[in-house]
């Protein structure tokens, strides 16, 4: 019990320390490019990875990541720390960028073929973090099929599924990112999971 309490306290303390550092950087970043650079270095990998997992297209990911950070730079003066953490704010901008991209495009064409050759080839040109290239290729193939099914969902469902299962975000973190209440997030997740399962079952591609 004591350990649990201590562990809990430690976690809270460590979380609040991270927030403090970010908070200071955000305040400084309004005038200091170096501070913005630090935030960029810290969050670029997460945002790039998230957008890639939403789009599975590297050049599109690069464009949308650029848009995200430029938007953050433009609006950092208006960022209010008390509302959401800076990281969640960046995720929110990235989510808007991705959803806007899909809104402006025709709905993606879903193919039941194997993952695109394009993505197979791209894997070689990408920076692979914590995984060797071969393992990553396997991951990509598996993920690509799932991603196609995810693309059939509404953007808000795509968002919660990606954040929950592939970005390991908790319900309250997703709530901060999307701006929806936790109860809403839970029900969105439930519906999204259900629809995704049905789609994959229809495709016969589910590997449970």
């Amino acid at each position: 019990m004591t350990d649990e309490i201590m562990g809990c306290n430690l976690r809270i303390q460590s979380q609040s320390k991270v927030m403090d550092e970010d908070e200071q950087l955000v305040v400084a970043a309004k005038d200091d490019p170096e501070a913005f650079g630090e935030l960029y270095d810290k969050y670029y990998p997460q945002i790039f990875r998230y957008i890639y997992r939403r789009t599975l297209d590297v050049s599109l990911t690069e464009d949308l990541t650029s848009n995200t950070f430029f938007a953050a730079l433009r609006h950092i003066g208006r960022f209010k720390w008390r509302r959401i953490p800076f990281g969640a704010w960046l995720y929110r901008i990235a989510t808007n960028e991705v959803n806007m991209h899909y809104r402006n495009k025709r709905p993606p064409t879903i193919s039941l073929d194997a993952p695109d050759e394009k993505n197979r080839q791209l894997i070689g040109s990408l920076e692979v973090v914590n995984a060797d290239a071969e393992e990553n290729l396997v991951r990509l193939e598996e993920y690509a099929t799932l991603h196609k099914a995810i693309l059939t969902l509404k953007p808000k469902y795509q968002t919660v599924i990606t954040l929950r299962f592939f970005e390991d975000k908790t319900i309250d973190q997703i709530s901060a990112i999307t701006g929806a209440k936790e109860g809403t997030v839970k029900s969105q997740l439930h519906r999204a999971t259900e629809q995704l399962r049905e789609t994959l079952t229809q495709w016969g591609a589910k590997e449970c």
Binding site: Y40, D41, Y44, R49, R53, F70, L126, N130
Partner: protein
Amino acid sequence: VLKAMNEEQRFIKYLENIKPPQVGSPNHRLSLRRELFNEIERRQKMASRKRRLKIIYVVAALVCLSALAFAGVTYIRKWHFVGEKDGAYVFEKDLTQYVDVKWKGRTYKLGYFGLKTFVTMGAESKEQAEKDLYEIEKLRAEGKRELLEVVEKKIDNGETIEIYKYKYVLSDGREVVMNEGSPEEEKELNKSPEGIQAEVQKKFEQKQKEREEKVRRARQEGKREEITKVAELEISGKVFRGYLAKYKMPDGSEVDVPEGDAENVLRSALGQKEFDQLTKDIMEKKGESLNPEEREIEGRKFIFSRSKFKLSDGREVIYSEGEPSK
């Protein structure tokens, strides 16, 4: 149901076990970093240019009382765009208000003049400046501002005034520093119509008493030095004339004393309504300009500026105002 639940749980487990591809793009990471830094640099240059221009918002206030009686009610409380000056957008709000005051059985219409000027050099457009202006007014009313400092400044007439520098944070994050008057002046500018009425009545009574006392003493003890102003109204071939004469008091001070009863004679000749309208038109310089004239009054030459007015009954009136010729 159980089967469905099991399937759902299994599916969630499946999703949780998916290992998404790890990805990054070092070249893009570096090039975006560079682009962002260039953008920050560009913004800093812009900001320093803006700082040089400085978002100077000035609220200048002038409140005065007129002892001249005239009729008509104008009540303008809206900001209006005056023009651009040296890259700044200038807006004005006319706070003029006319109130009725009573003195010895007579009613006088007095003008309570107020003018607020808003000058901005930082806004990117006239529309932006106007939007800022209303937002600043709202923030001021809500007390959402920070007093940075109070500085003393000598103005043209040699008086020293206090300038209060307040910082306002606009909704888009811009910080604006306003040079404003003292809290007392601000109170003065934001009086209710009833407050203005009461104040004007009080000040007018006080001034009239002082004036009457001075005139009485001047006539009793003083010596008329010279006529300083002549006002004439010519109507249907009849001329009504009034003077303003300078009297020197025994203590060396000088007092301007009105002489003649032209105003009262004219008022009864025209009727109160017509008289009020005419004096208002004269004040607002609504007449048709005529050529000036030079004439001698009591051995002294005066230059008369002249204008022609039309009464509601169609009669014409020529108003002449003479100042000593230099």
